[in-house]
């Protein structure tokens, strides 16, 4: 099989395996499905380009590192969602229909960027504090404090919303 064909086949298999988790990560980081889709796609393209350098079995971690270190705020601030239809009167609003998962996603999107990255890596990818520190280039102490602050803010916000 020609190298190009092998690369494409390997990459296709990688996307089939990893895209769900990567997509979830992108959504946690951006809080917006449109921005998440763009971030995911940009990550996949960069991973494809770098494929010869990616060690076997390390592609998901490689792609994840590209994604969490991307200039995510640039995507979020520039991304708008024009043209979304207004909720029809008489139907349940989008807010009312959200379940705990989507509510959490929105609360996560309100956290500072560093806390979002840390929470996504610790609780979606189950990385240790040390592994998160290495991936983000931060001291372990900063990862610990960002985790604590992010969880405290989420817990508080969930309780507050639950009481509304």
């Amino acid at each position: 099989m020609a190298w190009g064909s092998r690369r494409d086949a390997e990459f296709t298999a990688f996307v089939a395996d990893a895209s769900t988790t990567l997509g979830r990560t992108a959504w946690l980081l951006t809080g917006n499905p449109d921005a998440a889709a763009e971030l995911l796609q940009a990550t996949l393209v960069k991973t494809y380009v770098a494929w010869p350098r990616v060690r076997p079995g390390e592609a998901p971690a490689y792609a994840r590192r590209i994604m969490v270190n991307a200039n995510i705020d640039g995507w979020r601030r520039r991304r708008e969602t024009p043209g979304l239809p207004e909720a029809e009167p008489g139907l349940p609003s989008a807010e009312a229909a959200f379940d705990e998962r989507e509510r959490l996603g929105r609360l996560l999107a309100d956290l500072p960027m560093q806390q979002r990255r840390v929470i996504a890596l610790r609780f979606l990818h189950d990385l240790s504090e040390k592994a998160v520190a290495e991936e983000l280039g931060l001291p372990v102490g900063t990862v610990k404090s960002s985790t604590a602050r992010g969880l405290a803010a989420l817990r508080s916000a969930l309780v507050e919303k639950g009481n509304q």
Partner: protein, 427 residues
């Protein structure tokens, strides 16, 4: 740490939920294009098909630090007739072909080192390179003459006429022949002299911002005891070079900046590193003619386009320079019976201080951007006060170490804790 909550969080964010589509074929196609250097045909946003095809925009950098233009390339002239170089400027459209933009939409245009990128209202657009040569999205400025090559874009579908507006904008860009910068705005003219697109400046005028310096002439600064910083405050420049404070004036705007150093302290700091840093810092302030702000990163450039200094947004520096006295709001009566809480706050370089109604306090803090850590406060000069006031004072001081983030506008300061948000107004 509450293990139950962590488990809940894991389950919630790991659960099947919002599906984010991945287009494998598009990723391979776009990746091959980059790898093989294949010429990219011009792609204008298709408004009928919703697809998730994203082209890699080299301006998106890793680690949250955006790529900024280093030097004006061969595509800009050395001395444009209009006196303004477009590289490093960022604009927000206000009119397209004589008509205001559709309500609720925005179109942006950023000029880099021979390339443009931006947001068309629905899709991002930008440039592509083939063997390091900019192809799609290249621009050339010669005096006030300007040409922009068709750009590459993402291909998301857009509803409600936004896509139509975007299409007209993207098709207007290659028709531009001339530009004019006037009164903080940019006008792009076609061959018949008509204004194709009118913009206002999107680059902040640096009227009110604080920055911690992260690089001076490419070198990480020495913190002795704290890192160099810059504050722009209503025409005043307040800087710290790592040893001495510097004050001066700020004139112009980010695209044509004039910083004038007027004075400062004259402490003697020994050591070659700090001495070099002081010289380079002063040279950066003297030589800066342009500032580029992207998200929370500031870069100062000289007239030749050489980056002189880089910095990260730091509200603490602005608050400390502002030296405002803030009063805790008591609109909901949570802080006593009176109209005012009697609790005040002042942000200094490394400490917070103020009054609680039962005496003074001081607490050290550290911050990275808007993420803050405040240490346990020291109570100073205690005054006799009623038990209610004493309880409120202790409650306030107890909340300070739980602060996670800070939000600042010109007249409002909010300390966010997990339990409550403390809102302060300028006294």
């Amino acid at each position: 740490m509450n293990e139950d909550f962590e488990d809940q969080l894991r389950r919630a964010i790991g659960r099947d939920g919002v599906e984010i589509p991945a287009d494998t074929d598009a990723a391979i196609r776009d990746g091959r294009r980059i790898v093989r250097g294949r010429r990219l045909g011009w792609v204008v946003a298709a408004c009928t098909v919703v697809a998730a095809a994203v082209l890699v925009l080299p301006g998106v950098a890793q680690r949250g630090v955006p790529a900024v233009p280093a030097q004006p390339g061969a595509t800009t002239s050395a001395s444009p007739a209009s006196g303004r170089t477009l590289a490093g400027t960022e604009w927000a459209a206000v009119q397209l072909e004589g008509a205001a933009l559709r309500p609720g939409t925005s179109i942006t245009l950023r000029f880099g080192d021979g390339w443009v990128d931006g947001f068309g209202g629905c899709n991002h657009y930008g440039y592509t390179t083939v063997d390091t040569k900019i192809e799609a999205g290249a621009y050339r400025q010669d005096g006030d003459q300007l040409t922009i090559a068709p750009v590459a874009t993402t291909a998301m579908g857009c509803a409600n006429g936004v896509g139509d507006q975007e299409g007209r904008y993207l098709q207007a860009l290659p028709r531009v022949q001339r530009f004019l910068i006037t009164g903080g705005g940019l006008e792009l003219f076609g061959s018949d002299g008509s204004i194709l697109v009118q913009f206002e400046s999107a680059t902040p005028a640096l009227k009110r911002s604080g920055w911690t310096v992260t690089a001076i002439k490419g070198r990480s600064p020495v913190a002795d005891p704290r890192q160099p910083s810059l504050v722009f405050l209503k025409g005043t420049l307040l800087a710290y070079d790592g040893c001495n404070s510097i004050n001066g004036t700020v004139a112009g705007d980010a695209a044509e900046l004039k910083l004038a150093v007027q004075g400062g302290t004259f402490k003697l700091c020994t050591g070659e590193a700090i001495s070099t840093q002081q010289k380079d810092f002063k040279a950066a302030l003297d030589g800066a003619t342009r500032a580029v702000v992207h998200v929370d990163q500031l870069t100062l450039f000289d007239a030749a386009g050489t980056p002189l200094l880089q910095a990260t947004a730091d509200p603490a520096r602005l608050l400390a320079a502002d030296a405002a006295n803030w009063q805790l709001d008591n609109k909901d009566g949570a802080w006593g019976a009176g109209k005012d809480s009697g609790i005040t706050l002042q942000v200094n370089d490394a400490t917070l201080s103020g009054k609680t109604g039962c005496g003074d306090y001081s607490a050290t803090y550290r911050n990275t951007g808007d993420a803050w850590t405040i240490d346990e406060a020291t109570r100073l000069h205690p005054l006799p006060c009623a038990s209610t006031a004493s309880a409120l004072s202790e409650r306030f001081l107890g909340l300070l170490p739980t602060v996670t983030t800070i939000q600042v506008t010109e007249n409002q300061l909010r300390l966010v804790t997990p339990d409550v948000t403390l809102s302060f107004s300028r006294k």
